[in-house]
């Protein structure tokens, strides 16, 4: 197991390096002179030249990449043009909102998705199954930001029971209230995904001999399902959950804009509008890093829940 973890860690090193290369050179593509962001529009050429030297912009690009990489490895992601403070600080300030949002969405996805998937698998083509199929299809076809706007239209504007936008962190309860509609918005399509995965995985497992044996022994259905089937059906479900966390942790950009939540997603959008390249670069790098870690953890979780998997 330790050997596997080590090998898996080593395997991610090249990916992390390539992620760094992509991030660095992507921002190099942008037009304009970054030095212009630090000086006023009517600055004399000598002033611009001084800033360019100061920023190392007069160096060859490879050298700048090496320098940037060295700084990044020391945890220095640069200074945000707009916020005028370290990128990392800006990122960490926005992170909790996004993580809470991801957490609530995931809870919704699991609490709705797993039972619906189980019920559908119990009676394929039954009423629950048919309803959940349609529900899932709609969930996967609706752009989540549109769903969010419709929820605001219904619950905040027409019924007036929920805040339309913004994040109120005064207490857990107010925070929860401001994140509820966004979490439903994001959780819906994930719930659909989890339900479909649970269903197909359960159907697969329920055909296996050991489930037949358990039934033949006269065990009650809940025991057969809970103990013999569900445990073995977990693996693909964990994959979907891993993917869901990844896409929730960083993919909520547009939904954060809909609900005006001060998370990572809105930070990216704001940074794009203000051409705050160090911030964009930092967010790309950090979210990619988060996803790499999540993938790693998902892989390790497989080994724990499924002893049949051997990594040697």
């Amino acid at each position: 197991m330790t050997a596997f973890i080590l090998r898996r860690l080593l395997g991610t090193l090249p990916i992390v390096l390539i992620v760094g290369i992509i991030t660095f050179f992507l921002v190099q593509l942008s037009p304009g002179d970054p030095a212009m962001f630090y000086v006023s529009a009517d600055a004399p050429p000598q002033e611009i030249e001084r800033v360019r030297t100061q920023l190392g912009l007069d160096q060859p690009v490879i050298q700048r990449f090496g320098f940037w990489l060295g700084e990044v490895l020391q945890g220095n992601l640069g200074i945000s043009f707009h916020q005028n403070r370290p990128v990392l600080t800006g990122f960490l300030d926005a992170l909790p909102v996004t993580l809470w949002l991801a957490f609530f969405s995931l809870v919704i996805a699991l609490v709705v998705g797993i039972p619906v998937g189980l019920l559908s698998a119990l009676r394929p083509n039954g009423l629950v199954d048919k309803f959940s199929t349609v529900f899932a299809l709609i969930g996967m076809s609706m752009p989540n930001f549109w769903l969010g706007m419709l929820l605001v239209l219904l619950f905040a504007i027409t019924l007036g029971v929920m805040p339309a936008q913004g994040y109120d962190p005064t207490s857990f309860w107010t925070g929860f209230r401001s994140l509820l509609l966004p979490a439903i918005t994001l959780g819906y399509s994930q719930a659909a995904l989890v339900a479909r995965m649970t269903r197909s995985s359960m159907l697969e497992v329920m055909r296996q001999d050991y489930v037949q044996t358990a039934r033949a022994k006269g065990l009650r259905t809940p025991v057969v399902l809970g103990k013999h089937a569900f445990g073995n059906a977990l693996n693909p479900i964990v994959t979907v959950i891993g993917l869901a966390i990844g896409s929730l942790a960083a993919g909520s950009a547009v939904v954060e804009v809909v609900f005006n939540l001060p998370g990572i997603g809105r930070l990216v959008v704001d940074s794009v509008m203000r051409r705050d390249y160090p911030m964009i670069q930092g967010i790309l790098l950090l979210t990619a890093g988060m996803i790499i870690v999540i993938n790693l953890l998902t892989d390790l979780l497989y080994a724990i829940i499924d002893p049949r998997i051997r990594y040697d």
């Binding site: 942008s30 609706m142 930001f145 419709l150 239209l153 504007i157 950009a253 990216v268 967010i283």
Partner: protein, 292 residues
């Protein structure tokens, strides 16, 4: 033509023939495909279908609810929403098709090369893994940010974000096909690598590729709308479903029609594609998992 060569050519054409799938279309392909065709028709015939000039600002007509003259109401600049949606379909269809074609061609090439030539597999797949580590919408936003907001750059951004997914699917299929005996025998009679790829590997990759392309088209339409919604897509005043929705956000409390209708069109197109994709998957490869 020598004996084995003729045999292999025969087997090759048979592999392509087995892909002459359409034969009995199932209901889902017809229904989903019908919805997709409807949207493509709307996009193609937009100037004929539109009742107003989609760009004409008329402040006296602003925020009018749906009526006999303005079927789906007007927006904050008094522009006809129906005409804007109909013209917006063009952006969705053009961007979607361009992204699918580019993604499929480039992704297939990378997948074939990576799966067939083992030496290139490591580096190519690490690069794909790295691209996949970025959440695709964030990567697309960053690319548009670097290149500037335009329809062309949206296509580039989405293509780059989606390529790894297609490359992965193709590579996976190639890895299993290249172990088949017919590939081995083709190699044994001395066929070149690219000929083997063209005649034996590619036809067998087509089925999952078709399914993948349908879903990529759906994703591209949603992503284009999302990018336009946050202002990193189709630049106004040109209408796109995403930027009509974006305009509607500020008027959610007094003009529900600005939000409801463009979203409905996005949903219908994506629903059509998803249903068609599911149908295609069952038709082309029954072993593939039904629950995505």
């Amino acid at each position: 033509m020598t004996g084995p060569e003729a045999m292999s050519r025969l087997a090759g054409s048979r592999a392509w023939a087995s892909f002459a799938w359409i034969a009995p279309l199932n209901g889902r392909i017809l229904f989903g495909g019908g919805l997709v065709l409807l949207i493509v028709f709307i996009a193609a015939a937009a100037p004929l279908l539109a009742t107003h000039d989609p760009l004409r600002v008329q402040m006296s007509m602003r925020l009018m609810p749906p009526s006999a003259d303005n079927w789906l109401g007007t927006d904050n600049n008094g522009r006809d929403i129906y005409s804007r949606i109909v013209h917006g379909a063009r952006v969705s269809v053009v961007v979607g098709m361009a992204v699918v074609i580019l993604t499929t061609v480039i992704g297939t090439f990378i997948g074939l090369v990576s799966g067939y030539f083992r030496r290139l597999d490591g580096p190519l797949m690490r690069f794909m893994d790295a691209l996949m580590s970025f959440p695709s919408i964030l990567l697309a936003i960053a690319i548009v940010a670097a290149l500037g907001a335009s329809i062309q750059n949206v296509v580039i951004a989405l293509t780059v974000s989606f390529i790894p997914h297609t490359a992965r699917v193709v590579r996976g299929k190639v890895l299993s096909v290249r172990e088949e005996t017919f590939v081995e025998s083709a190699r044994a009679i001395g066929l070149g690598d690219w000929l083997i790829i063209k005649r034996y590997i590619l036809p067998n990759v087509m089925a999952p590729l078709m399914v993948q392309a349908t879903f990529i088209l759906a994703l591209a339409i949603i992503a284009e709308a999302g990018l336009s919604y946050i202002g990193a897509g189709t630049p106004p005043p040109q209408p796109s479903w995403g930027n009509i929705l974006s305009d509607g956000r500020a008027y959610l409390h007094n003009a529900w029609w600005m939000t409801t209708f463009p979203g409905l069109f996005i949903m219908i197109s994506v629903l059509g594609l998803n249903i068609m994709g599911d149908g295609l998957r069952d038709k082309l490869d029954p072993r593939m998992e039904a629950g995505r």
